[in-house]
Symmetry: C2
Subunit: 146 residues, 2 copies
Amino acid sequence: MYERKIPLTIDCGLHLTKEVLNGKWKPALLNAISLGIKRPSQIVRLLPGATRRVLHVQLKELEDHGMVEKTIYAQLPPKVEYSLTEIGWSLMPIIDAMNQWGDAHRQFLEAVLSQDPRTTQVSKSVCQVYRHMAEERKKGEMKAVK
Amino acid sequence: MYERKIPLTIDCGLHLTKEVLNGKWKPALLNAISLGIKRPSQIVRLLPGATRRVLHVQLKELEDHGMVEKTIYAQLPPKVEYSLTEIGWSLMPIIDAMNQWGDAHRQFLEAVLSQDPRTTQVSKSVCQVYRHMAEERKKGEMKAVK
DNA sequence: CGGTATAGTGATAAATTTATCCCTATAGCT
DNA sequence: AGCTATAGGGATAAATTTATCACTATACCG
């Protein structure tokens, strides 16, 4: 751990919110958990671009900030589940809006972001969350057929 | 300038949006411009926590990403104005939601963020935007009286 | 036993973002 | 002439965030 040397900026609601969502994977984590993907191993599989380590660290921050709750089951091998707190849930409209805005403007955004001179490569594996949801849907349909 | 060595993550709309808003002052800049604070010098005064340099760099990125348009008046001393593009305006519901969420939970968030062991200091100058708006309101009233 | 899976952590390097400083140019004011 | 304000930019240091790698521990399966 280290100590911040630059003071936290907390002037507007904007900065407060930004601080909570500040982390490459935090919105994705909240989104995943809201969809019922709760166990660390599931989450890791869902976000192949991230390492276990980072996800763990960012989940810890979300937990410390009160957005997420962690349940540790007294089992071996270990079992852990995350869930959103009430205030965590209250963030979902923002997460959803970001998701929708990005998808709605995907074509434009991909163009401008890849024009960006700093950009050399892009990781664009179709979002695993959608794949996951599609699978769940299939399972549901199969059960329904039985 | 430098080149990114880690590929941009573009899986979900979430990541696209995050990329556009990625910068300490970008949401605040969009917010300010949407409120009619358009000239660089005004913006700098509005966000005393940031240096001219950073604001300039982040405005440039917003411009490159198509969220903001820059008008340069052929005058001396120079005059420049920023304004939101159509797609920039379409971000405002998200910015507003972030602003509102943060303000609604300010008490809670200030508490958890200052519990954070990394936090040593907090910069909490009452948001200049509000001060600015209050002044504008006063001016409006004075004119109305005349 | 050797491989799998579970969840977690420490040390350290690399990448990226912000902050600091200093400089250019022009016009108006005193 | 020296001060203000306008807008901008280069070079570089510092801070912060991510990535990498290596390790602990236990149970189940063949």
